[in-house]
Amino acid sequence: MLELGLFYTSATVALVATVFAVTRYNVAHALIYLIISLLASAVIFYLVGAPFAAILEILIYAGAIMVLFVFVIMMLNLGSPGDGVEHQWLQPGMWIFPSILCLVLLAEIVYMLSSGDRMLQGKMIGPKQVGIDLFGPYVLAVEIASMLLLAGLVGAYHLGRKYLIDAREES
């Protein structure tokens, strides 16, 4: 029961944190909320029997990827002065139509979810099993993912480098 309570608590945390992440004016604050949300997700992953995923969520998502964001925020020096601008940017009226859309979509999904009643298997799937499958049937996926990361690397390198070159020229 404790685990079940833990699950719903984490779920609530994740939801609340995500809402804050999207609504905060201060980017750094938003980022912190996002990281909290990701950590809560990691807890949930662990609870439902995916410990490897939980670890990766923390290491890569909350760790590596979010740190990238932090770097950028630092680089651009986006601190509190941005708040006023954000306030200007976010007029309340802008929320109305997208919210309605999302609510309708939610209604549709809830309608869908209410039709079924399935339980999780409650089986723990450890890193070993994942590893075996990953390099078994999914071996080509790993290869392609490597090319994908290569593409991301080349792309990011290029876009970023150009920026640095320009910055150097200007200074």
């Binding site: 549709e108 999904i109 309608y111 869908m112 039709s115 079924g116 399935r118 049937p137 999914y138 071996v139 080509l140 996926a141 290869e143 392609i144 993912a145 090319m147 994908l148 290569l150 593409a151 991301g152 080349v154 792309g155 990011a156 290029h158 876009l159 480098r161 150009k162």
Partner: protein
């Protein structure tokens, strides 16, 4: 993995090796001609390997992720040839844009690899990966440094919207997976029938989301909004790539998914597709009507063209018309590839000297007929092909589409095709008319490789329009194998 499996993967392996070699070469010697030559050579090699594999084909799965069959190889060949021509056309364009252009070709090859993956994929994992490989390479290509603000804006829009659509699609896949317990197309196909407890609603919502994602990539209405801006902002060769290779790969996997899983049995899905196709044709054509930017015009027209393609796609829902419809879509896609590459190729050639923003204003093309008759001739051929006028492959393509529609008795869609073609004619002809106007000469440099590539594309287009029999035989054999 057995040797035969590896052998079947020869095209992908070849391309990957080329990518790696190219990376090394760039690391040691930055030389655009060399890079371009290597890419083109590599693509040719890949093309050869595709035909090689196709020659004595033992169709089968290579891991659950990929399948090598005539269908996959046909689309691979298409995608690789498309990339090949785009490489050639891009060369002169890139030369004018100074240093650091080498990686562009690397990205191009990576994206091509993504396209081939899509053509082979028979599993959602490979599907998603191929899609993203294509997408991520494209983001970088669109905003490739040394382009103006427009390319940046285009890349931004494409990145964000594409990511949203990917996420939507992934969520849909997750929903489907949640009820069917498999990500492989073939297993899904069998589960859909075997599992008595499957939940229809999950599958429908899931496929709705997948379809939305795919529609975005194919820029179908109402997921088309990004298309004109991105087409306009992206460098012309990239636009060509975006419009052809990316769409071709996605269409390949869509068609394979639908035929494998036989989603055609869901009438609601077909009716959704019906509206998408109908709106795409009408909206695309109407929006293109008075555009003064050629690239925007071509963007809108591509919306409509894919709408035509969807007519054939929907036609496959009739059992009797399935083979014809698949043939039709394949042939139409071939024609569309050639035509679109040709059209953007001309824009590329026109824009060689203007490094800030591509020469896509209609007024820039005034009098082209008299200053650069050959170039104008190429462009006119492309326009006529888009309009589906005989002597070009576009005509056979449209003929095929209509045949498929007739066979499956999609009268309403056919009527829309007629209306759409009517509107379409207007703006295609407007381009030709503009080129025939008298105006003072504005000099255009034409790179030799680009010129020859354009000539080859045009020639192919006309040959396909006049003597399409060999290709039709090929396409129909592939379709027969798939059905």
């Amino acid at each position: 993995m057995s040797m035969t499996e590896l052998y079947s993967l020869l095209p992908m392996i070849t391309l990957t090796s080329v990518i790696l070699v190219l990376m090394m070469v760039i690391a040691f010697a930055r030389n655009l001609a060399l890079t371009c030559g290597l890419s083109a050579g590599g693509l040719l090699l890949t093309l050869v390997s595709v035909f090689w594999v196709n020659h004595d084909l033992s169709a089968g799965f290579v891991t659950p992720l990929l399948v090598v069959d005539a269908y996959a190889l046909m689309f691979s060949a298409l995608i690789v040839s498309g990339s090949f021509f785009i490489t050639l056309i891009a060369y002169g364009y890139k030369v004018q844009r100074g240093e650091l252009q080498d990686e562009f070709f690397l990205l191009l090859l990576l994206a091509t690899l993504g396209g081939i993956t899509l053509a082979h994929s028979t599993h959602f994992a490979s599907f998603v990966l191929g899609l993203e490989l294509l997408g991520i390479s494209l983001y970088a290509m669109i905003s490739y440094p040394n382009q103006g603000l427009f390319s940046l804006e285009a890349a931004l829009k494409y990145l964000i919207l594409s990511a949203v659509s990917s996420a939507i699609m992934l969520f849909g896949i997750a929903l489907v997976y949640a009820v069917l317990g498999s990500l492989s197309f073939t297993e899904i196909a069998s589960n859909v029938y075997q599992d008595t407890g499957f939940d229809r609603l999950f599958i429908l919502v899931g496929s709705g989301m997948i379809l939305a994602g795919i529609s975005f990539k194919l820029s179908l209405v109402p997921f088309h909004m990004w298309t004109p801006d991105v087409y306009e902002g992206a460098p012309a060769p990239v636009t060509a790539f975006l419009a052809t290779v990316s769409k071709g790969g996605i269409f390949a996997v869509l068609l394979r998914f639908f035929t494998t899983v036989d989603s055609y049995q869901y009438e609601t899905i077909i009716s959704g597709l019906f509206w998408i196709a109908l709106l795409s044709i009408l909206v695309g054509n109407i929006l293109a009507l008075m555009q003064t930017s050629i690239k925007r015009m071509l963007a809108y027209s591509s919306i409509a063209q894919i709408g035509y393609l969807m007519v054939a796609f929907i036609a496959a829902s009739e059992i009797g018309g399935k083979q014809l419809a698949i043939e039709a879509s394949a042939f139409f896609l071939i024609a569309y590839f050639l035509t679109t590459i040709g059209a953007f190729g001309v824009v590329t050639i026109m824009s060689i000297d203007s490094t800030d923003h591509d020469q896509d204003g209609l007024d820039k093309y005034e009098g082209l007929f008299w200053h650069r008759p050959l170039l104008a001739g190429f462009f006119s051929t492309m326009m006529l092909s888009l309009a589906g006028i005989p002597l070009t492959a576009g005509f056979i393509g449209k003929f095929y589409i209509i045949a498929a529609g007739v066979k499956s008795e999609l009268w309403i869609l056919l009527a829309v095709v007629v209306i759409g073609s009517g509107i379409g004619l207007f703006y295609y002809l407007r381009v030709i008319f503009t080129m025939t106007k008298q105006s003072e000469s504005n000099e255009v440099n034409v790179s030799a490789t680009g010129g020859w590539a354009m000539a080859a594309v045009t020639l192919l287009l006309v040959i396909l329009g006049v003597y399409p029999a060999p290709v039709i035989e090929w396409v129909s054999a592939v379709a027969k194998a798939l059905v």
